[in-house]
Symmetry: C2
Subunit: 247 residues, 2 copies
């Protein structure tokens, strides 16, 4: 499986993805699921993928390199050239449909699974900073201020902490901590999500990446966060008063 979480906050974006892929528990590999496109001063677009790895890689390749012509006879567009974030989400969806057109029937013939979910976020030129989720059908939804995060893959374990603590106004560094805690909770409870994890942070209107980082098992900050969080949770539940119920 996979776990990816994307936050679209007032101050900027946080994108966080694990790297584990598995075909059964005895065939586990590390694949990068976070891709970042940066043309400083002009655009930053970041993608994270979950689902069938062949499908998601094919779709990302189309969106990044091969491109899709807006109309027959026109020059193909890629994520490097689309004029807006909405067009980026549409292009990503078209790329998924293109893969379904070419690979879908063969996959079905082999009882393979055509499933892919993609988180796509960024900012192009003077446009808004936006975050989208693209589905297997090529359609998409967008994160709003009410729900300033989207998740794909094994999302349930890491949802409660974000549901409770994250708001659109949450500062970017607090958002980053919450995303890391959410990832840690998922990795502890589900073996199919695993280290290293890939991070991208973007500050609104910067039109350049604030940071990318591959966080490995021996990352000192992440190890400290895991430990502090475990200790804090234990302290927190112990501090809750006992029920006055007789038993």
């Amino acid at each position: 499986m996979t776990y990816c979480v994307a936050l679209r906050l007032k101050e900027g974006l946080v994108m966080l993805a694990d790297t584990r892929t598995n075909a059964g528990v005895d065939n586990i590999s590390t694949f990068r699921k976070l891709t970042v496109i940066e043309h400083p001063g002009e655009r930053v677009i970041s993608i994270m993928t979950a689902g069938n790895l062949a499908v998601s890689q094919a779709a990302v390749n189309i969106a990044l390199e091969q491109g899709i012509a807006p109309r027959p006879g026109e020059e193909p567009m890629t994520l490097h050239t689309v004029p807006s974030m909405v067009r980026a989400a549409q292009l990503m969806g078209q790329a998924v449909r293109e893969v379904y057109r070419t690979d879908g029937p063969s996959l079905e013939a082999q009882a393979g699974d055509f499933s892919v979910s993609i988180l796509l976020a960024g900012q192009v030129g003077q446009g808004e900073m936006r975050l989208f989720q693209v589905y297997s059908a090529g359609n998409y939804i967008e994160a709003t201020e009410d729900t300033p995060f989207l998740q794909i893959g094994e999302h349930k374990y890491g949802k409660p902490i974000i549901d409770r603590a994250l708001h659109y106004d949450t500062p970017l560094d607090d958002g980053l901590k919450l995303a890391l805690i959410s990832m840690d909770s998922t990795m502890r409870s589900n073996l199919s999500v695993g280290m290293p994890i890939d991070l991208m942070v973007y500050r609104r209107d910067a039109l350049k990446v604030a940071m990318t980082r591959r966080i490995s098992e021996d990352d000192e900050y992440f190890r400290g966060l895991r430990q502090s969080w475990s200790d804090a949770l234990t302290k927190a539940y112990r501090a809750i008063p006992e029920p006055g119920w007789e038993f």
Copy 2:
């Protein structure tokens, strides 16, 4: 859906179940999923069920009332009369198989779902206090000191806190708090799990129920726990140092 969690700790058992059932989001009802059998001084057996409500009710009825004869011609046994917890788990499994035998083909004909999971825990006479999970196939597993809890239904949201904080040696009242926190996390993130919730606590070797309680929306302690937990989580993540990463 449903969420039920059972803890088998050094000091005793905690059984906690929500009461929401749904056939689509527009058909939501409240059904008790926790059943307790008590013969003071002789046995306490508690059951929680998830899955197809018709299947689980039919299986519980067989196990509690109609009974199953150990061998043809013998007197049927029920959970009121089985001589041990292992026999209780086996009887529960046989009851599930009996329901499959009578209802399975018709369910399949209607594309219905024959799925049920049952947590069964308690103590009979001088025997050990035990906790089992019975599957749709009628087979079962048992909780151990390494993994002193079992969950059925919508289990992922509420797993991280228990994974981190619960141990076999955790005192019974702390275990109860963790079960309530786990339930609260699930209800906040998933509408299909809902109040009121049913609780049973049993102290090892007591052979009588320590407490049962239906906890409703306006239960003062549970409301306090929800609030304290939310506040503590927010404080806890804020107290984690900022990453030293430049961005």
